[in-house]
Symmetry: D2
Subunit: 496 residues, 4 copies
C-alpha cells in the first residue's frame, strides 16, 4: 500500500486545463440511426461535450454529391436531406460539428481505393473544381440553414490521417498539401470568419516531418490555418486474434512527448508558433475491437491522460462516444472492445464516468500529481483520484486534511473492478451476444458508479478523510459545507 | 453469526401467497397534485400494485356534493370534475380504485366533528336519503364514465375505522351498522355485481366485538357483504416529542394473531365464514411522523409481514405509497417518518424495494422460514432474505446449494444500512429541510439497491453460494442458467 | 361590408409596445395540481409569458406560517415545502414569480373575515412583527434557494385590491398604508435591489383617490416604491343567473381612460411621476363564471385591448392563464366562463391565440388602427386583424398592397366563430359536464386556428391580398419572401 | 352536381371487410434510422396497422450473414445485432413483422446482379445449404429471443417479385420454385406452426401463369403453403422526366379484376383453392418518384381501393408507410412523390387519413357504393365518402337521413384540395428542398384534416344532413346521440 498525505500546506495554485470539449464519432451517416442518437443523448447528459467530429461527411451514404441526368445531359446536384438531419440532431443535443472534410464521393474520386468495412473512397478528387464546389456549396448551404454566425463557429479540418496510406492514396503528401490549399481557401470564401486547420495526422514521431512540411507549405502559400490537428493513440504493437486486437500501452507521460514534439516543430514556423493544437482523436487503442476500451483500466488510463493533455493541447476529442460503429464491421456483441463511452443497448462504460468527472470540474487547481487532481472553489473542494494497474502495482491510500467549517459532507463516486463495471457482469452472464431487454436493464443498473456520503471528522479547522484506490479505480469526490439542521422533536438515533 | 444451510433436500412445496396487491394513499384530493402523481408513477413502475385505497372521497376538497341556489331554491348538485380527474389518473397508472365511502361532506354532516389537519367531517349524515343519493349517483356516474363492467371490479368499503371515536362520532356502533345497511344496498343498486364490504376497523383485540356485531347484523338484515376489512398496525404505545412519535413494534408473528382471531370470529357466522379478508391498512407505526417509516429496519420488518400475511388475508394494503400527505400537517422535510414508500422529491425509501421484491416473486414456494423465502420456477430460483435487528441480534449467513446446470448466474440486489438508505445520506447532509435539485438528485441515486452478479461454483449438479444479512438487510436474489458463449478471438482475460 | 385599403403610402413608423409579459393565476396553492401545471405548460409553449402573478402566497393551504408546540411552548416555524415546489414549477416553465404578498395566515389574522370559496383570510395581521418576519424570512429563504440575484428580479406587490372591502377588512385605507410601510421596508431589507410596489387597486375612477393617497403617503414616509399597480376590467353592471354572471363591456378605448387618469394622478407626485405602471390584472369580466371568457368575442376584445395598453402601461397581466380555479367554487363543466386561456382538459380557448399572436409580434409597427396592427421586419410583414361584433356590425375587408420581391408567401391563421371555437363544439355535443377522453381529444383538435397559405399576386413591386374579418375574427398573417425552386423533372401540375 | 339520397330504406346489411392490416416499408435496414422510427410511430398512432413487410432482411447492411476468419479457416457466423434492434422497434410500435425472405447476402450470391440504388443482390444462392442454414438459424434465433409462440404468428414470404428480371436473376421460374421448395421447408422446421407463402409476384395478367405454376409445383411437391401473395399497382404506362415518373391509373374496379383472376387460377388447385390471398404490396404508382403519392387524389383513389379489396383479398399492405426510402436514391425534397403515408419531417400526407378512416371503421356495413361506405353500430353511424376527379367530374352531394334519438352530434373530418393538403402549402412556399424547423411546423399543422361538428335537424325520428364532396375529397363522418345537458343559469346564447 502506497500512502499519500495531503494537508493545507500541500496546496498551491497549480496550472491545469480541462480541454476535453470535443467527442469523436464513427462515420456521420450513422448519426441517422436511432440507437446512435440515444447513445449520444446519454453521453451529453453526463459529459456535456461541445463539439463532435467524425468521418464520412462526403461519403456516398450521406449522398450530398449527386450526378443527375437532365435534358441538358448529366449535371451535379447537391442533396442535403441527410446532412441537415444529422446537423439538426447534433445541435439538438447541444453539440456543434467539428467538420472533417472527407472522404471522397465515389463519383468524384480519381480512383477506387476505399477504407473500412463501409468503403470510404480515399482518393484525391478527379476534378479539383468539382471538389472545391462541393466544399463551398456544402458550407454555404449550412450557413444559409443555420446562420453564417453560427456556422463560423464550427471548426473545419481538411481530411483525416493523410499520412497513412489506408486513408489517403499512397499517403501522397504533395497531393494533400495541394488539397489543403484549394480546400482551405474554399472554406474561407464560403463562410467568412470560419476557422480551418489540418493536417490531422496520426502516428508517433513519424508524423512530425509531415507537420513540418505542412506548416512550411501553409506559410509559403499564405494559406488560412487557424489550428493544427493531430491524433494520439497510446497503443503499442498489436497482437491479433480473430477480429480482436490486443496491445500494451504507452503511458500518458510518454504520449505527452508526442505533443511536446509537435509544439517544438511549430516553434520553427513563426506565423503558426502559437496557434492552437487540437488532438482530434485520442484513445488507448486505435482499433474498434480492442477489449481494453470496455474496461475500468481504460477509465483509469484516460484519467491520467486528461490530467496532462491540457498542458500541451487546446482541445482533445476522445474517439468515440458510442458503439454504433462499423469501421471493422458490425459488432455482434454489446461488449467487444468498441471505442464507445457507451455500449450498444445504452450501457455506460467505465470511461464515460472519467469524462463526466473531468468535464464537471471547476474552480482552481490546487494539487496535481500522477494520481490525483484537486480543485478548490471557495469553501468547496473537488477532486479525482485514479490508479492504473497495468502490472501488479500497489494499492493507493490518500489521507486528506482540508480546511473546513463546522460540519462538512463528503460525497464519493467510485468506478472500479466492482463498481460501474458492466463488462464484468456481462462476462458473468456468459457473454450473451444479444441480451434481452431484462439483461440490458440489469447491465445498465450495474453500470452506475457507487455513490457514498459521509461526514468527515473535523479537528483544527480541517476535515480529515481517506480514500483508497485499487484495481483501476477512478474516484470523484467533493467536500462541501453541510451545516446541521434538525426539526423540533426529530430524533434520528431512535431507529437504527 | 447465525448460519443456515439450504440444500436440495431442504426444499419442498410450501404454501405461500403474495397478497400485497393494494396500496394506500392519503386523502384522494391530493391525487390532484403533480408530485403525488409522479410518486405514484414511480411506485407503479417498481411495485405494480393493482388497487389503490384512500380517504376523503366525499370530502369538501373533491367537492362532489354541492348545494346550489336556483330559481326553485337550493338544490343538490353533484360535481364530478375532480373525481373524474383522480380516477383518470389511477387508471392511467394501472390502478383500480378500492373505494372507501367517506368521510361526510360538511354540508351533509349532522355535526361538526372533524379528523386530521385537513378537517374531514366524521359525523353521520344529517339526512340518510341525501347520503344514499350521493353514494348512488357517484357510483352511477362512474359506471357511465368508465363502463359498468369496469366499475363492478372496484371493491367498495363503507367508511374508515368507525370503531375509533376520532373517525366516527362517538364510535357509535349502531349508527355505523345503520350506515352500512343503507349504503351497501345503495352500492349494489347502483352497479349490479359490484362487491361491497366493511367494517374497516382498527386496533387489536378491541375490534373483534365490532367485527362480531357487524357480521351478526349483516346476517340478520341480509345485507350484501362480499369481504371483511380491518387494519393491522404493529406499533406499541408511543412516546411523543414535538410532532414526532416513537414506539417499539410487535413482531409480524404477533400481528398475525390479530388476523387469526378475526378469522375465528368469522367462523361463528356461517354465511360469512369464508369470505375474503382484506387488510385495508397495515404498517409498522400508524403515525405519519414516526421516523421508522424511512428506515431500512422498516423494509426488513415489512418483509417479515409480507412473508406471513397471505396465510390469513386475501389482500393487504400498505399505508401509504407516498409522502404527499397532510393528516398531521404538511411535512417540512423530505425525511420525517412519513408513511410513503417514496419521499417527497421522488426518492425511493428502503421499504419500496421490499414491495418490489415480493410483488415480482413468481413460481412455486419451496422454502420459507422467518428470514427467507425461496421460489422455484423451472430451472430458476428466486428468493428474498431479510434480517431484523430491533435489538442487537446476530448477523445471518445462509449457505445455499441449489440444483443447476453447467453454468449459472446469481444476481443479488441488496438493501441495508449502507445501500438504498437515502435517509442516512440526508442525515449526513445535515437534514436540510428543502434539498436543492442537486441534493435531491444525489439522494435519488444513493437510494438504489446495490446490484451484484456472480457465477457460483458448480459441483455435484448444484450451484453453491452464500448470502450475508446484517443490519436490517433485505436481499433479493435470483439464480438462473447462464450458458457460456464467446466470439472467435475474444479473450476477456487479457485486460484485467 | 366595410373596406379598408393599405398600400405602401399608408405605412409609417408608428409607436406600439407589446407589454403582455405577465399572466395571472388563481391561488398559488393550486400550482401543486398536475392539471394546472399541464395547462400552464401549454400556455407557455404558445404565449411565452415571463412573469406569473396570483393570490394566496401566505394562505393556509401553502402552509408557510406554522405555530408549533415545543418544550419551550408554542413557537413560529416556516414550512417552505409547498412554496419551493411551486416556485420550482414556475421557473421550470420559464416564468418568474410576480409576488403578491397576501392574504393572511389564519393564525396570524386579526379577524376571521375571508374571501372566496377557498376562504382566504383578509384581515390585517394580529401582530405586525410576526407579519414582517414572515415576509422577511420568506424572501430570504427564496434568495437562499434561488440566488439573491435571481430573486431580485421578482417584482413584489403588497396585498391585492385593498380598496375593496371583500379583499381587505373594511377596505381600511390607513391600515393598508401602514401595511405597505412595514412590508415594503421588510422586502428591501430581505433582498437588496428587489423592486416593490402597490397598491393593487381595482375599480374605475373610484380607485383614483386611493392611488393619490398611496403616493402621498409613500412620498411623505420615504417608502420604497418602484412601480404602481392597478387592475382594469371592462365589465359593466352584471346580471346574475344561478352562479353565472352576464354583462356588457366597456370598449378598450374607454378602459384606457382609467389608465390615462391614473397617469394623471401620478403626475401630481414628482418622485413617482414616471415610475412604471403595471396592470396586474385585466380581462373583460371580473367574474370566473361569466361565459364571455370562453368566446371568440373575448379573443377579439382582448386584441383591441392589447393594441392600446402599451401606450399607458409597462406591463399587463391577463387574469388568468387557466381554469384550475376555485374562487367561486369548483367548475362542474369544462366551459363555464372561467378566466382561463385554457379550459380544463387542456383545451385552448380563442383568447389564447390572441396572446400568442401579440406576444410573437416583432419588428417595427408601421400601421395601427382599431382593427389592425401591421409590423415590418426587413422584407417581412406581420399583422393582426380583428373585428368585434357586440351588436350587429359590418363585416370588414382589408385590401393590402405591400412591397415584395419576386415571389412571396402569405400565411394566415384565423380564429372566428367557425375556427378555433371549441365552445361551439362543446355546445353541439350537448354541454356534457364531464367529457370523455375521446370528446376532449375532439375539442382539442377543433380548438386549433385555421392555417392557410397562398401566393399573392405581385404587380408593381407589391404583393396584393385581401383579408375578410367577420364575427369576432382575430387573424394573424405574415408575408415573407418565397423564392421558387424546382427539382429537375418535377411537374407539380400533372396531378391536380 | 350529382346528388345521392340515403334514407333508412336504403340501408341493409352489406358485406364489407376492412383488410388493410399490413403496411410496407423500404428496406429493413432503414428501420435503424431515427426518422424512420418516428414516422412509423406517427403512422401507428393514427392507423394501427398490425403487420409490417419490407425488403432486404438478408442484405449486407443488416449484416446477418458473415464470413469470419478463424484459426480453422473462414467460417460462417450470424450477426443478429441489427436484426434484433429492428424487430424490437417493430414490436415496440405494436407491429409484427411479415417476413420477406430476401434478398441475397452478396457473399452468398451466385452472381453480382443488384437491384436499386442500395444494391440488393438478386441472384440465387451459390450454396443451397448455406441459404437454408441462414433461413433456419435466423428464424430459430428469433424464436429464441421473442418466443416460438410469438414468432409462429409472423407470416413468412419467400422472396419478392421473382417474376421480374430486376428482382430475380433472369426471372428464372424454375430456380424460384426450387428456392421456395428448400426455403419453405426450412421455415417450418425452424418454427413449427409458422405460416409460409409466396410467390410475391407483380404485374397484371402476366403473373397468372406464374401463380398457376407455383401452385402446381407446391401441390406436386407437397410443400407448405399457407397463403398466396401478389402485388397490385394501379399505374399504367409511365412517362419519365428526370428522376420523376408520371402515369394515368387503372380504376379500383379494374384492379380488382387482377385479384378475381388470381382467385380463378387458385380454383384450379383444389388443395389451395381457399387459402388466404395477401396483397403484399399495393399503391397507385409503383415508382417512388411519382408525384401522385403526395396528393389528395391519391387519398381518394385509395378509398375506392380499400372499399373493394376485402371482397377479394384477406390482407393488403400499402407500399409504404414512410419516405425514409432509397430504392431510386435519396429524396432531395420533402415532397417528391415518395410512397410514404408520411413525408420526411413527420408530415402526414393525405393518404394517411384514408387509412386512419378505414382502419377505425367498426360496426356493420349497411350501405356501400363507389363513393360511400356507411357502418352502423347500435345507435351510431359512421361513414366514409370520397370523390375522385381524374378528369373534370361532377361534384357530389349526399343527403342523408339516418335514424336518431332526440338529439345527435355529427362530426366530419375532411381531406381535400384545401384541407390536409401539405403538398399545396409546400408548393406555395416555393418547393424549398430543405424546410426549416418553422416551415416544417407549418406544414405539419396544415396537414391536419378539417374537423367540424354540427347538430343535424331531427324530424320523423331521423337526423338529416348533407355532405358535399368535390376535388378528391375524402370525408369521414360520425353521427352519435348527444343528449342536451345544461348547468343551472348557464345561457350559451348571451354572448354570440
Amino acid at each position: 500500500m502506497k500512502t499519500l498525505h495531503i494537508s493545507p500546506s500541500s496546496l498551491h495554485r497549480v496550472p491545469f486545463r480541462s480541454v476535453s470539449d470535443c467527442i469523436g464519432t464513427g462515420r456521420l451517416g450513422l448519426a441517422l440511426h436511432r440507437e446512435y442518437v440515444d447513445q449520444l443523448r446519454l453521453v451529453q447528459e453526463h459529459c456535456h461535450f461541445r463539439y463532435i467530429r467524425g468521418h464520412g461527411l462526403f461519403c456516398d451514404d450521406i449522398g450530398i454529391y449527386q450526378r443527375v441526368s437532365t435534358d441538358h445531359g448529366e449535371v451535379t446536384r447537391y442533396n442535403f436531406t441527410y446532412l441537415d438531419r444529422i446537423m439538426d440532431t447534433y445541435l439538438e443535443l447541444g453539440l456543434r460539428p467539428f467538420l472533417e472534410l472527407g472522404f471522397m464521393p465515389s463519383k468524384l474520386g480519381s480512383g477506387t481505393q476505399t477504407v473500412f468495412y463501409w468503403k470510404g473512397n480515399v482518393t484525391p478528387p478527379a476534378d479539383d473544381q468539382e471538389w472545391v464546389l462541393l466544399v463551398e456549396n456544402t458550407l454555404k448551404h449550412l450557413a444559409a440553414r443555420y446562420g453564417a454566425q453560427e456556422v463560423a463557429q464550427w471548426p473545419v479540418e481538411v481530411w483525416n490521417e493523410p499520412n497513412l496510406p489506408g486513408f489517403w492514396e499512397h499517403a501522397d503528401r504533395d497531393r494533400y498539401l495541394h488539397l489543403y490549399d484549394i480546400t482551405s481557401r474554399a472554406v474561407c470564401r464560403a463562410v467568412p470568419g470560419i476557422r480551418v486547420g489540418g493536417p490531422a495526422v496520426c502516428g508517433g514521431d513519424s508524423c512530425l516531418p509531415w507537420i513540418d512540411a505542412f506548416l512550411s507549405f501553409s506559410e509559403t502559400h499564405d494559406l488560412p490555418l487557424d489550428f493544427l490537428t493531430r491524433h494520439v493513440y497510446m497503443a503499442r504493437t498489436p497482437e491479433r486474434n480473430g477480429r480482436y486486437v490486443y496491445h500494451s500501452m504507452w503511458s500518458a507521460e510518454q504520449s505527452m512527448q508526442e505533443l511536446a514534439d509537435t509544439r517544438e516543430v511549430m516553434q520553427r514556423h513563426a506565423r503558426f508558433a502559437s496557434i492552437p493544437v487540437y488532438v482530434t482523436e485520442f484513445n488507448t487503442s486505435y482499433h474498434p475491437f480492442c477489449p481494453i476500451h470496455d474496461t475500468v483500466q481504460n477509465a483509469a488510463i484516460m484519467s491520467s491522460f486528461l490530467a496532462l493533455v491540457g498542458d500541451y493541447a487546446d482541445s482533445c476529442s476522445y474517439w468515440t462516444f458510442g458503439d454504433v460503429f462499423e469501421e471493422q464491421g458490425i459488432p455482434s456483441t454489446p461488449f467487444h472492445g468498441g471505442f464507445g463511452l457507451v455500449a450498444n443497448g445504452q450501457i455506460p462504460k467505465p470511461t464515460m464516468w472519467t469524462f463526466q468527472f473531468f468535464n464537471q470540474l471547476h474552480g482552481q487547481c490546487v494539487y496535481r500529481d500522477d494520481h490525483l487532481i484537486l480543485m478548490q472553489d471557495g469553501d468547496r473542494y473537488e477532486g479525482i483520484l485514479w490508479q492504473i494497474c497495468p502490472e501488479k502495482q500497489e494499492d493507493l491510500q490518500v489521507n486528506l486534511s482540508l480546511q473546513a467549517g463546522e460540519r462538512s459532507l463528503l460525497v464519493c463516486e467510485r468506478v472500479d473492478m466492482n463498481h460501474a463495471n458492466p463488462l464484468q457482469d456481462w462476462l458473468n452472464m456468459g457473454q450473451c451476444p444479444n441480451p434481452s431487454a431484462a439483461q440490458t436493464a440489469l447491465l445498465k443498473r450495474s453500470a452506475q458508479p457507487e455513490i457514498r456520503t459521509c461526514v468527515p471528522e473535523i479537528t483544527d479547522g480541517c476535515a480529515h478523510f481517506s480514500l483508497q484506490a485499487c484495481d483501476h479505480a477512478v474516484i470523484h469526490f467533493m467536500l462541501s459545507p453541510a451545516p446541521q439542521s434538525r426539526d423540533d422533536g426529530y430524533n434520528e438515533a431512535w431507529y437504527r
